[in-house]
């Protein structure tokens, strides 16, 4: 699911026609005004419909508070390869074999109810996770111990280097309050954290955070942050046009000219999610159809005219993609030297596509479509109803593929049905996007989408690896990487080389482009937003930890 605008698309699925009309209607007026008091930042996170109060940081249905109220030990920036930003922790180090993580804690931090923050709170939080499997989403199974008031160790049975970003991003809760809380069922109406903001008031249509004057990092300059609920990203775009919100992450009409249309606002795009044609690639696990032939997947890769796709389907907000799924250019350092083509070609390479297909035994039939053993090279792409940019992309790919002798049909279905087909392997191709791990490192993407433990036979619900890629060398390389420190570049690269060679060879996810995540924000009333010069966090309002960092950096202008 593309975080970029999945939310908008969901609303659009229910009201596709209306959304399109809304775009047309709201796109042509340039009126924009202030958004109330300039100390108050009004944001729209994509919440569709009313809020139901829930500030439990371990609940999957929480509505907020991560990073703003409850802090973690460190902040990991997934937008750029950087050292983690110290929050409640100040230093962290693994022992030699990656089984003991030592963390030094910040001194002089207090909870917003006045109690002091200590190492016991950290130990309590990790013990709580381990004791409550229903909230242990990271699968933590170590032993936490307080060495003294400001030092904590986490001890594991096996090397856990790659788990560090997840572990250190755990929200820390106060022991003196949480010892009586049921972490699975309590909605924590009155959250007490260490963060830069506290909850001021909650209403189903909006909740408001206010600056914590005793914050250890100094009181934030933004005095209040209001989170609105609207009906979807379309309504968010309308609110930008009316000047009633200061920040939303999602597309607005005529996005290239945001500043001309709405002088108070600017749009900023970053690229985190590789849009792909996911394929049911593995015949051994029960996939059927021409796409089980790697030559067909490669031919599709070369048949795409990505420049045309970008302008027709993605409003020119998409970016280059690497066929081995390192983000480009921020993760170029991880690309294997053996990969001759680190960026997918921007224009269609029909000749290359033909060569590959003919080399694999396909021959052009009388209607210009390839055939092999009587089977026509005809494929169906599954796409979600109402996801207009993906639908346009599929139509564009279909006409481009036809030039290369591949016939493509589109099949639209509801999000639920599409998800079900994809996970159960009852599809040929599905347009979708991949996502990154907790920090800027390609290991996580490989481990999510290419490890054989995250897949299963067709008919059963697979994990993230719905392409059903299964390669013993890749599994072994991933296992080896998990016992190497993230900063040991020299030791890790050979394993990345192995993975990338296999990913390129097999191409179970055919890269389209890297999708842009666009934030539209009020630059007239607030400064300090992330930029190319200082990309201190991934700029997306729905990405809670990043959003909290940004809120701390912002300064109201008069």
């Amino acid at each position: 699911m593309s975080p970029k605008n999945g939310l908008r698309r969901r609303a659009a699925a229910a009201l596709a026609g209306a959304a399109v009309l809304g775009l047309a209607l709201t796109g042509c007026s340039g009126a924009s005004g202030g958004s109330g008091s300039s100390d108050t930042l009004v944001v729209y996170t994509g919440q569709a419909g009313d809020y139901q109060i829930n500030f439990n940081p371990f609940s999957p249905t929480k509505i907020g508070g991560m990073g703003t109220i409850f802090e973690s030990l460190f902040f990991f920036n997934k937008a750029e390869v950087r050292d983690p930003e110290p929050l409640l922790g100040t230093e962290q180090a693994w022992n030699e074999d990656g089984t003991v993580l030592s963390v030094t804690l910040r001194e002089g931090v207090t909870w917003t109810d006045g109690e002091a923050f200590t190492a016991d709170d950290v130990v309590f939080t990790f013990d709580l996770l381990k004791a409550t499997p229903a909230i242990n989403g990271g699968g933590y199974d170590g032993t936490a111990a307080a060495v003294d008031d400001t030092h904590v160790t986490l001890t594991f049975a096996t090397p856990m280097f790659t788990k560090a970003p997840d572990l250190l991003s755990t929200p820390i809760v106060p022991e003196h309050l949480w010892k009586d809380v049921d972490p699975t069922a309590d909605v924590v109406e009155d959250p007490v954290g260490t963060g830069a903001f506290t909850l001021k008031e909650f209403k189903p249509q909006a909740y408001t955070l206010e600056a914590n004057p005793d914050y250890w990092g100094g009181e934030p300059k933004v005095k209040e942050v209001r989170y609105l609920s609207l009906s979807g990203n379309q309504a968010g775009a309308d609110a930008i046009a009316a000047g009633t919100i200061d920040w939303q992450t999602g597309p607005i009409p005529d996005i290239q000219n945001t500043h001309e249309n709405f002088p108070n606002y600017d749009a900023y795009t970053q690229w985190q999610n590789q849009m792909v044609l996911g394929t049911c690639s593995n015949a051994d696990l029960g996939c059927t159809g021409p796409q089980t032939d790697p030559a067909v997947r490669k031919a599709l890769y070369y048949a795409m005219d990505r420049d045309q796709l970008n302008s027709l389907a993605f409003m020119d907000t998409a970016n280059d993609v690497s066929p081995v799924f390192t983000l480009t250019p921020s993760q170029d350092q991880f690309v294997s030297a053996a990969i001759e083509e680190p960026v997918a070609p921007q224009t269609a390479q029909a000749d290359t596509a033909s060569q590959i297909l003919e080399g694999a035994g396909w021959a052009k039939g009388s209607d210009g479509i390839y055939e092999k053993d009587g089977e026509r090279l005809s494929l169906t792409i599954e796409v979600v109803t109402g996801w207009t940019d993906y639908i346009t992309a599929v139509d564009t790919i279909a006409s481009q593929a036809k030039e290369a002798g591949i016939e493509i049909d589109a099949a639209q279905s509801s999000w639920n049905e599409w998800t079900d087909k994809r996970l159960k392997g009852e599809f040929e191709l599905a347009i979708d996007s991949l996502w990154q791990g907790p920090t800027a490192d390609p290991y996580y993407l490989y481990n999510y989408f290419f490890v054989s433990t995250a897949t299963t036979e067709v008919g059963e619900s697979a994990g993230n690896n719905y392409a059903r890629f299964d390669n013993a060398d890749v599994d072994a390389a991933l296992a080896a990487l998990s016992s190497l420190p993230l900063d040991d570049v020299a030791a890790r690269q050979p394993y990345f080389d192995t993975i990338q060679a296999a990913v390129w060879e097999d191409m179970p996810y055919v890269p389209i482009m890297t999708g842009g995540t666009t934030s539209v924000w009020n630059t007239a009333e607030f400064t300090g937003w992330p930029s190319d010069e200082d990309l201190y966090a991934f700029p997306a309002v729905w990405s809670a930890w990043d959003c909290a960092e940004i809120l701390k950096h912002l300064e109201p202008q008069g």
Partner: protein, 329 residues
């Protein structure tokens, strides 16, 4: 058998059938709530690993392992106790709480708008029907045109003109979020200001139906013998209009009105989407996209009860108002 008892037993059977369908339909949807929840989390930029899936499957409960008939039995038993279950998409909130925070918005907005549309439509229809063939008749095509235009299109045009261009009304929302909801003048004034435009769109879109129905009934009632008699007696036209013609012509509209009240709860999905208005329609939409069975069942239950209740009321009222319906009792 007594007319009322017969009606009541029919409604009991209808209720049971509706409850059973209500149980079955959500379960025919593809997908499962955990997958949807994970997809949503991942949209928010959180890490989703196999462990996450395991944890949340555990958290939300694996009741899907029970055979269907046990689930059905539990469902009926809990309903009898008034327990609608726990919402998955708003976990751990109870379905009844989720619905009750949204329901008043919908009932007031759509309810008031429906009453206004019906009263205005019937009154105008009576007047137009009283003098057919005059310029007043042009009201019929003009209001039916508004009813024929797709509702969301009408709503979007009005939003664009009245809220965006002229700035007379707020663009979206149910009240000024700076205010605290409650029984105070400021909040109520704000709620009225925010609700005016959505209510206007509903009234404009539905008034045509009422007007047309009432006008046609008026025209046929006017040709009845008793109207002629009334005129021959020398009653004032005003009295004939009110006490003779309208009272007889309005009967079908009363029935229609009660039924449309039943659809108040369900008829707000698009209104709420266009205006970002809080209410039950948005909840229903969210429940469907999140495979939140319990919430879906809860909302459907309210809709079913509202429709059945309104129909029952009409049937019973008709028994009193119009003796002919009791004839075979």
């Amino acid at each position: 058998m007594n007319y009322f008892l017969r009606k009541l037993s029919f409604y009991a059977v209808a209720l049971w059938a509706a409850l059973t369908l209500n149980f079955a339909i959500p379960r025919l949807l593809p997908g499962n709530p955990v997958d949807i929840l994970l997809a949503k989390l991942q949209q928010r930029g959180e890490t989703v690993t196999p462990e996450t899936r395991k944890a949340y499957a555990l958290l939300l409960g694996g009741d899907t392992d029970d055979p269907l008939w046990i689930q059905y039995w539990d469902y009926l038993r809990n309903l009898a106790k008034g327990d609608l279950g726990v919402s998955v998409s708003y976990y751990p909130a109870k379905v009844s709480d989720v619905i009750l925070t949204s329901l008043p918005w919908t009932v007031v907005l759509v309810g008031v708008a429906t009453v206004i549309a019906a009263v205005l439509g019937v009154a105008l229809g009576a007047i137009v029907g009283w003098k057919p063939g005059t310029w007043l008749d042009s009201l019929v095509p003009s209001t039916t045109l508004l009813a024929a235009v797709p509702y969301f299109w009408l709503a979007l045009i009005l939003v664009y003109l009245l809220a965006r261009v002229l700035g007379w009304f707020p663009l979206q929302g149910g009240y000024d979020v700076v205010l605290t909801p409650g029984w105070n003048g400021e909040f109520i004034a704000s709620a009225i200001q925010y609700g005016f435009l959505p209510a206007l769109t509903i009234v404009l879109a539905s008034i045509g139906g009422w007007l047309l129905g009432m006008r046609n009934m008026m025209v046929s009632t006017l040709s009845e013998d008793y109207i002629l008699t009334a005129e021959a007696k020398g009653l004032s036209p005003r009295k004939i209009l009110r006490s003779y013609a309208s009272r007889n012509a309005v009967l079908p509209s009363v029935a229609g009105f009660a039924i449309s009240l039943g659809f108040v709860v369900s008829g707000s999905v698009i209104t709420e989407q266009v205006f970002s208005y809080p209410g039950i329609g948005g909840r229903l939409l969210g429940a469907v996209t999140n495979n939140d069975y319990a919430l879906m069942q809860g909302v459907f239950l309210f809709i079913t009860l509202a429709v059945l209740g309104a129909n029952l009321l009409v049937d019973l009222l008709y028994g009193i108002i119009d003796p002919r319906t009791r004839a075979r009792a």
